[in-house]
């Protein structure tokens, strides 16, 4: 049969950000795959060398829109290690709280995207609607929905009071119920399972040798999690399990992420109930003596690593960022081979690609409102927020 090459990307409905996957296909079967990057390289690493540490904190936040907290935490941790700062416990707990909320929001977002790639739009709408709950919680804590800007060198910038705690617990209670429903749906709905089971196989040995990270690695049966292996922030004191699955396919990646959601709920409840008292931050000097540090962080997509080298001034000599998605690309090529064309979006989505992380570019959303568009307040008035109104019955 004749082989043809189809370009998936840089602009393609399955991709939310520009990347080019070039598929060589024979009929409906993928014979070869190639990934080209660089469609929006921003040169953040170069830029970071000309900015001060505190400016870099906000720069690293803008590496990614979804896991913005993971990059700042990773950077702040590294700088604190260089300075030898001891961050107060309450600060570490709050940092962990936002990190876990971010994980929930990212995994719910991913679940919706995966469902959409599989053509299951109803599930997509459901998960994204529930994701609003966790976005609201993040807004309650930090004042922002996307770039929380809660980290600072030496701690966090905002504290939590009791009314906020109550609202967080309410939201988590609601999300717990919904996640139970999604677990059921994602693992039993016949058409969805038919699309995910046995697709995008990544055997354990391959996953290890290709240096896959995060849920992709754990779905291949490797219990590797930076939160357990190399505990940072408050993770050494939190009760949680590393979630793995051993079927090595897309379904396993779904299962791992749903399990992680449940672990995150557990952790958040623990944090809220055992929040230590005291300060949330310490003051940090501006100049940093010469040194170097490797900071690791388990982002929602996997291991995030920053290497920072300081040179005695208030600007870093070198900042190297490796976002989790880049680590998963070699494994993705392996997964795509001998799959079907129909599985390209699902397999690619299963690593939860965040291309802007890997390429470090800026995404700008235009928010011009037209006269006819319902405002957020109007929607809230018409459709009462479910986690506030407990009597509201969710139509299933």
């Amino acid at each position: 049969m004749k082989r043809i090459k189809i370009p998936v990307g840089p602009q393609h409905p399955a991709l939310k950000e520009p990347i080019s996957l070039r598929m060589t296909i024979e009929g409906e079967v993928i014979k070869d795959a190639d990934i080209r990057l660089g469609y929006n390289h921003r040169g953040i690493e170069k830029l970071a060398e000309s900015k001060t540490y505190i400016q870099n904190l906000y720069l690293t936040e803008r590496i990614c829109g979804i896991c913005s907290h993971s990059h700042t935490t990773c950077f702040a941790q590294g700088v604190e290690a260089l300075l030898g700062l001891e961050v107060p416990k309450r600060g570490l707990y709050l940092r962990t709280l936002v990190a876990e909320l971010e994980r929930i929001h990212s995994h719910l977002l991913w679940f919706g995207i995966a469902a959409h790639e599989a053509g299951f739009d109803s599930l997509f709408m459901y998960t994204w609607r529930d994701r609003e709950v966790v976005m609201d919680i993040l807004e309650i804590i930090s004042g922002n929905r996307v770039h929380y800007a809660i980290n600072t060198i030496g701690g966090v910038r905002r504290d939590l009071d009791n009314s906020q705690k109550g609202r967080i617990l309410e939201g988590i209670e609601f999300l717990k119920k919904r996640t139970g429903y999604y677990t059921n749906l994602g693992t039993t709905e016949p058409t969805f399972v038919a699309r995910t089971a046995g697709i995008g196989l990544l055997p354990k040995e391959k996953a290890i040798s290709l240096c896959a990270v995060g849920p992709t690695l754990r779905a291949s049966g490797v219990p590797s999690d930076v939160r357990k292996d190399d505990p940072y922030a408050a993770y050494s004191e939190l009760p949680f399990d590393v979630c793995t699955a051993d079927t090595c396919d897309v379904l396993a990646r779904v299962v791992v992420r749903v399990k992680e959601l449940i672990e995150s709920y557990k952790m958040i409840e623990f944090i809220i109930k055992n929040l230590p008292s005291g300060d949330v931050k310490v003051k940090a000097p501006r100049r940093i003596k010469e040194g170097e540090v490797v900071s690791r962080y388990e982002a929602p997509r996997g291991e995030n690593i920053h290497y920072i080298k300081s040179n005695g001034t208030d600007k870093p000599e070198r900042l190297k960022v490796r976002a989790p998605t880049l680590g998963n690309y070699p494994a993705t090529i392996e997964m795509l081979k001998n799959g079907y064309v129909a599985d390209i979006p699902l397999i690619f989505a299963a690593i939860d690609p965040c291309i802007c992380c890997a390429e470090r570019f800026v995404e700008i959303t235009d928010s011009r409102g037209y006269r006819n568009i319902i405002t957020m307040n109007e929607i809230k008035r018409r459709y009462p927020s479910r986690h506030i109104n407990k009597d509201y019955i969710w139509p299933l």
């Binding site: 040169g43 040194g291 490796r322 070699p330």
Partner: protein, 156 residues
Amino acid sequence: MSQQLADRINEVLMGMVIEIKVPAERRIFLTVSADNLLDVIRKLRDDFGFYHLSTISGVDTVKNFEILYHFANSQCCITVRVVIHRENPEIISICELIPGAILYEREIQDLLGITVKNIPDPRPLLLPDDWPAGNCPLRKDWSYQAPEEKIPGEKK
């Protein structure tokens, strides 16, 4: 605990280690020479279980280049440092040992202009295909010059 691991590594890698430091718990910095790189990585991988390459960072120290291989396993994160000359920046590819290193090596090749020998796929990764040769953005002596804007049909 990391100190013990560092001591054991020092023992196993007999003579190949130039410097070994333990700046913090679960962090080891190891300096080796470029000739021993493959042997060191093979030993680390097979004897100590450092299968996972987190990333490769390249640093321009003005005098020369440093290439740092960040490995991790469940106990420790080890950084293998290799110093190479600025005049003839060349390093051997570690893809035969760690196949997942390919993208990081391509990135170093692009951004620092270091030639990676035996690399299975030498195409540029991040920079465009028509990027002018000899421009390595992460080198300290490189600064960006915006090309002069030309509008077709403009008055001379």
